[in-house]
């Protein structure tokens, strides 16, 4: 039994961390997020250059065939640095499905020149593909889409949009070119600084070649599991950052003439933060190892997502309370890290959903 990163994973992690520390500190990141695009193509190019955009893609499709622990190694620093670029949307959700479908766009996506997005979510945090209701209707050789996809990560920025819809009762994957006229895309920023969109289809006609996969559910579930792992790794990264910053603050901020860490209420809250972080990271690493060994079942994934969402919220709220007033401001990373954790919890089924699922699965 071994849950340590391999030397290669540690190197990967270190290189991502040092890149982000260099080029993506909190101020630089905020400048990017508050800019008109909300994310940086330059940073994106760097991620491509390090090879991260090819990491989740199978080797036989030209990717690096990264493992679950590989993904954890890079996603923890992503979370700690509040990465706003569409890594989840493009590299984790869309690209692997394109790879399975043998799409010719893959090269450009792994290279960083094109953005792809997966229109999966239909509202409130669609936790399971079985909840997908939107249908594609056959129409001659083509298809007609009606309905709305919501919280499509990078949905307004995507050159290529993949839509999950029911076709003949099964889940199919359809490609939609960016900017097709009869699609209404409402882009927005999320509370954690990502970009997303609600996309409404009203009798949107697609050609026959739009259909990428007819029974995409197994592939989709795999992609969702990987994304879930990355969301959790991001949150654990953010939790670590919150713990470290809060411990620092408590050791230096003085009230009543002493560091506030001297107050047992503060000390014990810090202890609880550390316990929560440690539990969360243990479950993250364990589940990654299970996934690598192809032994992670539905219940394991539910434990992971449920625990990280719950523990993450505890850590974030404790960090704000310990910081007091300054924890309530936009000026410190504290609230931003907490918002990233909250957003990650809401995506793909929140902790309530997953913990309940654990109870339902014996």
């Amino acid at each position: 039994m071994d849950f340590t990163f391999t030397d290669e994973q540690q190197m990967l992690r270190d290189s991502v961390s040092s890149f982000l520390q260099r080029s993506y500190d909190f101020d630089a990141r905020n400048k990017i997020v508050r800019g008109s695009d909300g994310w940086s193509r330059a940073v994106w190019g760097q991620l491509a250059e390090i090879g991260l955009l090819a990491l989740p893609i199978a080797e036989d499709a030209g990717g690096l065939g990264g493992s679950a622990p590989d993904l954890v190694a890079i996603a923890e620093p992503f979370g700690a640095h509040l990465l706003a670029e569409p890594f989840l949307a493009t590299a984790l959700l869309a690209a692997p499905l394109l790879a399975k479908a043998g799409s010719g766009e893959l090269e450009a996506i792994m290279g960083g020149s094109k953005i792809a997005a997966l229109a999966y979510e239909e509202g409130h945090g669609t936790a399971d593909p079985s909840q997908i209701a939107m249908a594609a209707r056959r129409d001659g050789h083509g298809f007609v889409l009606d309905g709305e996809k919501r919280m499509v990560l990078a949905g307004a920025d995507a050159d290529l949009l993949l839509v999950v819809a029911r076709l003949d009762g099964k889940l199919a994957l359809l490609a939609v070119a960016s900017g097709q006229g009869d699609i209404v895309t409402t882009g927005y920023q999320t509370i954690d600084g990502r970009r997303a969109a609600n996309i409404r289809f009203a009798a949107t006609r697609l050609g026959g070649d739009a259909l990428l996969s007819v029974d995409v559910e197994p592939a989709l579930r795999e992609v969702l599991d990987t994304t879930l792992l990355a969301l959790c790794a991001e949150s654990v990264g953010a939790m670590g950052e919150l713990l470290a910053r809060t411990a620092d603050y408590a050791a230096t901020r003085k009230q009543f003439g002493v560091p506030i860490l001297t107050f047992q209420a503060v000390a014990h809250r810090l202890a609880d933060m550390k316990i929560a972080y440690t539990k969360a990271r243990a479950t993250l690493l364990y589940t990654a190892a299970l996934m690598e060994a192809r032994h992670a079942g539905e219940r394991d994934m539910a434990i992971l997502k449920g625990q990280i969402g719950k523990l993450g919220r505890e850590v974030g709220e404790a960090a704000i309370q310990t910081h007091g007033g300054v924890g309530m401001t936009d000026e410190l990373a504290i609230s931003h890290l907490h918002k990233r954790i909250l957003a990650n919890d809401a995506l793909l089924g929140n902790s309530e959903y997953h913990l309940r699922k654990v109870g339902n699965l014996t």
């Binding site: 509202g123 919280m151 927005y188 609600n198 009230q255 007091g324 909250l342 957003a343 309530e352």
Partner: protein
Amino acid sequence: MQIEFGPELEAFRAEVCAFLDTAPTPEIREAGRKLTSVFAPFDQVMAWHRILYEKGWAAPNWPVEHGGTGWSIEQRHIFAEEYRRRDLPPLLPQGLGMVGPLLIDIGTEEQKAKYLPGILKGEDFWAQGYSEPNSGSDLASLSCRADPDGDDYIINGSKIWTTYAHHANRMFMLVRTDNTGKKQQGITFLLLDRIDYPGMTIRPIIGLDGFPEQCEVFFDNVRVPQSGRVGAENDGWTVAKHLLKHERGGGAQSPTLHRGIERIREAAQTTPSGFGTMLAEDPVFLRDLGELEADIASFEHFEKLGVSGHPMANDPAWPSMNKTMNSELTQRISVLMTRVCGTEGLPLQHEALRVGANVEPLGSDLELVAMPYYLNSRATTIYAGSNEVQRDLIARTAGRGV
């Protein structure tokens, strides 16, 4: 023991409803619906304050001789219920709930005559200058200095977490007038007639919800008259403690909490649980709701025990218990709100939140406000004396009054 029920109260309720259904302008209603804080959008809430003043209902808790309504406890509760049921914005507390009652209790006749009408009428808004960058929970360590100079004080230093200072025209504050003794003993309580004295600078602080609600206020040789002092020089800590009783005291917060639950139940009607039904029929969701509702009910009972003058409410820890319960229930409700909204609560919609913006929100009203409300409500356990400080105070009298 006795609780009033009866047709007179129902007639009163009808009168309240009739007024609240017609008096508020559309902007006031919009401000109430878009509320994401205990502090309502400024312009609309002050307009509403003035309408209530015209009706004579601006200060139900004030003594009749100062403009109160003379309502019974039951009536005040009914008013609060119907008020919240319509999502009307709560009036800002700094004047009506804090400096006003303080002046009624211990202000000079001159101060009462000068300030109470402006507070009651909603002409003035008072900022509260207490905390400083280095004096949060340890408020008594404050160092913003006021040096006597003739009939004036010269103020130097800064205040922080000064809610709506950028909207205020007056300010009450604590200043350091003596450094020699115990830190509590050199503090003075001052009323400032203006917030634009030469040398004052106000910096709004963007909160984690993206809005400027708090401010930092800087004082650079600001000259203010000594006549604004409440109580004696160096006796400001006693004055502040007296005011705290009002600040933490409350009385009818439970209708706001109940209304939060109502909004959650409404939203649950159309929100899928993920387990085959809508949340409104989901046993797990209903259990969580039941647990929270029962706790809110106990808080309501606590509030009513308090306003009815039950002996338990003489406990010195009563205001601290009130503040602790109310803030933590508010946070629990806000969490449940975001849970109902799920990913629909994640988009940033600052424009749609602005009153009068005419920007269609992406989803429902609750989905628009839930996340900023949740984020903003993290402050409730920090401000007005953090809940850690409250628990310290409660523990001191833990065995008493049992």
